[in-house]
Subunit: 162 residues, 4 copies
Amino acid sequence: MNLLNQFKFYSIVFLLTIVSNSTQAQITNNITHEQALKVVFEAKKKAEASNVLVNIAVVDAGANLKAFIRMDESFLGSIDVAIKKAKTARYFNIATGDLGKLTQPGGIIYNIEVSNNGLITFPGGVPIKNNEGKIIGAIGISGGTIEQDHEIAIIGAEAILE
Amino acid sequence: MNLLNQFKFYSIVFLLTIVSNSTQAQITNNITHEQALKVVFEAKKKAEASNVLVNIAVVDAGANLKAFIRMDESFLGSIDVAIKKAKTARYFNIATGDLGKLTQPGGIIYNIEVSNNGLITFPGGVPIKNNEGKIIGAIGISGGTIEQDHEIAIIGAEAILE
Amino acid sequence: MNLLNQFKFYSIVFLLTIVSNSTQAQITNNITHEQALKVVFEAKKKAEASNVLVNIAVVDAGANLKAFIRMDESFLGSIDVAIKKAKTARYFNIATGDLGKLTQPGGIIYNIEVSNNGLITFPGGVPIKNNEGKIIGAIGISGGTIEQDHEIAIIGAEAILE
Amino acid sequence: MNLLNQFKFYSIVFLLTIVSNSTQAQITNNITHEQALKVVFEAKKKAEASNVLVNIAVVDAGANLKAFIRMDESFLGSIDVAIKKAKTARYFNIATGDLGKLTQPGGIIYNIEVSNNGLITFPGGVPIKNNEGKIIGAIGISGGTIEQDHEIAIIGAEAILE
């Protein structure tokens, strides 16, 4: 391969890398439905392994519902709680349980729960980040203990990392 | 057949009857999450084949959200429309388009859309029936033309039939 | 000065006083949109100087939204919180943080937050007063710490004073 | 310039173009607050020139409120109408007046207005597109005639084009 051809070859490789990166950046600003399904299924698998019945909600970067599944015999009241946990986690880019530490009586943001059409501030909602650490959505789990819900949410959120 | 063998035989028949009945009751009264996922995926496959971007919602026999998926780049406003179509179809056990014929000005149930926190009465929502014809839930599709939405809903609803 | 002239003189003074007061009253009873924009921009300038991303809401004397701006990358959940802080400050003519001292468990207006479609009672909302000290609206800030939000709100509210 | 150098030069130009485009795409996927303010001010200028009092709302790509201004003496009821027009335009990527043609009695999506917490389907809301034609938000105008509202919305939406 002479110098010109070599240069062309590396140029093309370099170009493809840039194009593919920019495409990826484009894609990864917001969770895709394929990623959302991956999150849901990993969370569901963990819930089944833990023998707990939950509702699983995923919202996108705009806090809009992207995917949802309710396991058989799980609480009816958990549909809304799971969705609100996911939305809360994205509204403030924080695990809902961490937010809840600040909303208690005497806390710095006491009773913020009445805003945004109802927030849920106990554990079970966590932001979903991509490989670059950028928040692209959130997951909310409801149906088990708060410890179980949080653990399942974490497993779900990490399902899209490579 | 001696008495012991006879007893064994009837015991087994009796056991099988109980098991099969309880299984059947389980299956046929309410849509399961595995069935709901089957409905969602068949609907999604049809939407992709038709090159249309939709939101897909499935509610159970109690008209509560069971499964949901929003395809990338589909309308944001279709999240709520798809869920409301599914709920409407189960609230009145009817295809939403058929209900809409009765809600027009001068119609016998004019403006019923304002009830139940908002009904959608144009095509795209249909009840989901099991093999025995019993309604066990409903599906709502939003994002395409009303003809496309209805067609995709039918494909989804029939996914659980054997 | 004879009696008639004296009378004329006082009449004119009296008339001018009435005219000037009524004109002034007209102007100062309610925040104008030009004033609201001034409030928003001073608050934004302060937020940028403090390197904090906030939502800024201004309501008028009737507690109705007058102006709003959301800085890029600020919390989605802060849209509603900022608007509710502004409304709360005008509903009760008080800084939201001061109201919050009374709404804690055991407080004299415990859980008033559930009224008025949701109040926010932690710092970040303050009434806007004109030069005469009359309340003509309110500002709400959300996105930073409660100290930052309150400080930015004060800067904004004082932007219309001369 | 020999062939190799020439090739290098064009390669670099080409690379820079790709990088700059991808960066721009990144930036322009969602309306910025500076763009939103530009939209608001152009709309306000047009309203003043037309001697009409309006409410102006801008939402981002996620249909969340980004900027708002209410002109003095404009209708109080127009606050919510303007915001709902902007949201509706983004929910379905369409001018609200065009949507309204389909929601009339006998229309294919009759009474869709009850969804999404209330849609407004008469003129005054239009999507905001960037230079590449991609929808990055929407504007809603309320206070004048529907013709005036629509015209002002168009002027506002086009303010960010170069």
